[in-house]
């Protein structure tokens, strides 16, 4: 029922993209949350340096960043030198690259959200017998809802769209590392504009639906912080 321009390969790419974006977002949250918590609370003198380093990958063009990651992951790179696996051209490699590149989009909104939770609120929770984890889940999380929403939106959307890094360390293997963005890009490069339009439209439509639902759910949860 799909128009001719979209082949099964494109659908595989779409599926892979969603999987990659989802996994990346989850990993980003898992890594970004403690990092953001640390940055929001610490008075360490390394804070400034860490903050800067987190934002740094952004200034390199994704393909160049991908190139350096290739050097890192390649046979002459430190990872394989230390007996690690060859991660280039694997899904895991894609996740690593995307995580690295999208980290600031997750860390910064979370850090802001965490920093704006009043010390008094946390103290109140502690005095009501909530331990650190408990406080995190019952106070920090709900009060950082908007920060998480932003982190998820930016992290997910950016992983869907960004392909410089993925292109570089993915090797464009159909079904394994070929994502939808590369597929669309190919169509444009190959002057197959019709397919590019259709795929772009499909991606935009899907993404709009996802974003819309995400914001709608958030609106329902009715954040209270005025």
């Amino acid at each position: 029922m799909l128009p001719d321009w979209i082949g099964p390969q494109d659908l595989a790419a779409l599926w892979l993209t969603l999987k990659l974006a989802a996994v990346t977002t989850v990993v980003l949250l898992i890594l970004g949350t403690p990092l953001a918590l640390w940055l929001a609370r610490t008075r360490s003198r390394f804070k400034l340096a860490v903050e800067s380093v987190v934002a740094l990958p952004l200034v390199l063009p994704p393909t160049v960043l991908g190139f350096y990651m290739l050097m890192l992951l390649g046979s002459q790179g430190p990872i394989q030198a230390l007996g690690g696996p060859g991660l280039a051209f694997t899904f895991t490699g894609l996740v690593i690259g995307s995580v690295f590149y999208s980290l600031p989009f997750v860390v910064q909104p979370l850090q802001n959200a965490f920093a704006s939770i009043g010390a008094g609120t946390m103290e109140a929770a502690a005095c009501l017998r909530a331990g650190p984890w408990d406080r995190f889940f019952t106070v920090v999380l709900p009060l950082s809802q908007r920060g998480f929403l932003t982190a998820i939106t930016l992290g997910f959307a950016h992983t869907v769209g960004e392909f410089g890094v993925v292109l570089m360390i993915g090797g464009n293997i159909p079904g394994e590392t070929q994502v939808i963005s590369i597929a669309i890009y190919d169509h444009v490069e190959a002057v197959d504009y019709a397919s590019a339009h259709v795929l772009s439209g499909l991606l935009l439509g899907l993404s709009f639906l996802m974003l819309f639902s995400l914001y709608a759910i958030n609106g329902r949860l009715k954040m209270v912080l005025p």
Partner: protein
């Protein structure tokens, strides 16, 4: 006067050498924009301010002529790309490369994306005519021939089908690796065409440079030394009439 040239990424370095040779004596300054030909094609159709276009193939140039964005009689083949299987490791590629690639434990092979890059299409053709059939998971595709080359130099794939011009540049700096050069007949020629764009149709300097590249010994020597094959002027004439 300044000549604005859009050039396929794989020919960028060579064009710079050509410009260096030509510019000072003819008092022409060059502004060179390197990129993928697909991108340049779209940009030229949207009015990009280029005078000359050195495409990576002969399709875009033909299309631009057809759509009136380029001057028909200016089209010519400035180089034919040559393909090589290459590894930076001098020991890696054996005499019998075909058997090596067909072994069950053969390494991953980097190629350029056949859908967009002529070198990729050529690599596919070579494999087909030699009966090389790697399973799809071992074929790693770079978006451009430059990326395919990067896969090899960084050691993420041990070998790759790259442009001869690339490995010449690389070996000049880092020393020889190992290579296998398939027969030119085993793949359709990687014809790279240049064309004069409409905006510059009346600029003598632009036409003069194109003529220089096509005719002069100096230019042909530079192109050849960078690992391209040169078409005979006759072939070029035929080609233009096609």
């Amino acid at each position: 006067a300044e000549l604005r040239v859009a050039v396929a990424a794989n020919f960028n370095a060579t064009l710079e050498r050509l410009a260096e040779a030509y510019g000072p004596t003819h008092e022409v300054a060059f502004s060179i924009s390197s990129g993928s030909s697909g991108k340049h094609f779209a940009q030229i159709r949207q009015g990009a301010p280029f005078d000359l276009f050195f495409s990576a193939d002969d399709r875009r140039s033909a299309d631009l002529v057809a759509s009136g964005h380029a001057v028909a009689d200016s089209r010519f083949v400035y180089a034919e790309g040559l393909l090589a299987l290459w590894s930076p490791d001098p020991e890696r590629i054996p005499e019998d490369a075909v058997a090596f690639l067909n072994k069950t434990d053969a390494p991953r092979i980097a190629i350029a994306n056949p859908r967009v890059a002529p070198y990729g299409a050529a690599a596919e053709a070579v494999m087909a005519s030699y009966g090389i059939t790697p399973d799809p998971g071992r074929l790693v595709t770079g978006q451009s021939i430059g990326q395919a080359f990067n896969f090899v130099t960084t050691g993420n794939t041990e070998v790759g089908f790259v442009a001869l011009s690339q490995l010449i540049t690389h070996e000049r700096q880092y020393g020889p690796g190992s290579r296998w050069i398939p027969a030119a007949e085993s793949y359709p020629p990687i014809v790279q065409e240049a064309v004069l764009l409409r905006a510059a149709r009346d600029r003598q300097g632009a036409r003069a440079f194109l003529d220089w590249v096509r005719e002069s010994e100096a230019a042909r020597a530079i192109i050849q030394s960078d690992g391209y094959r040169l078409p005979s002027p006759a072939a070029n004439r035929d080609h233009r009439d096609r």
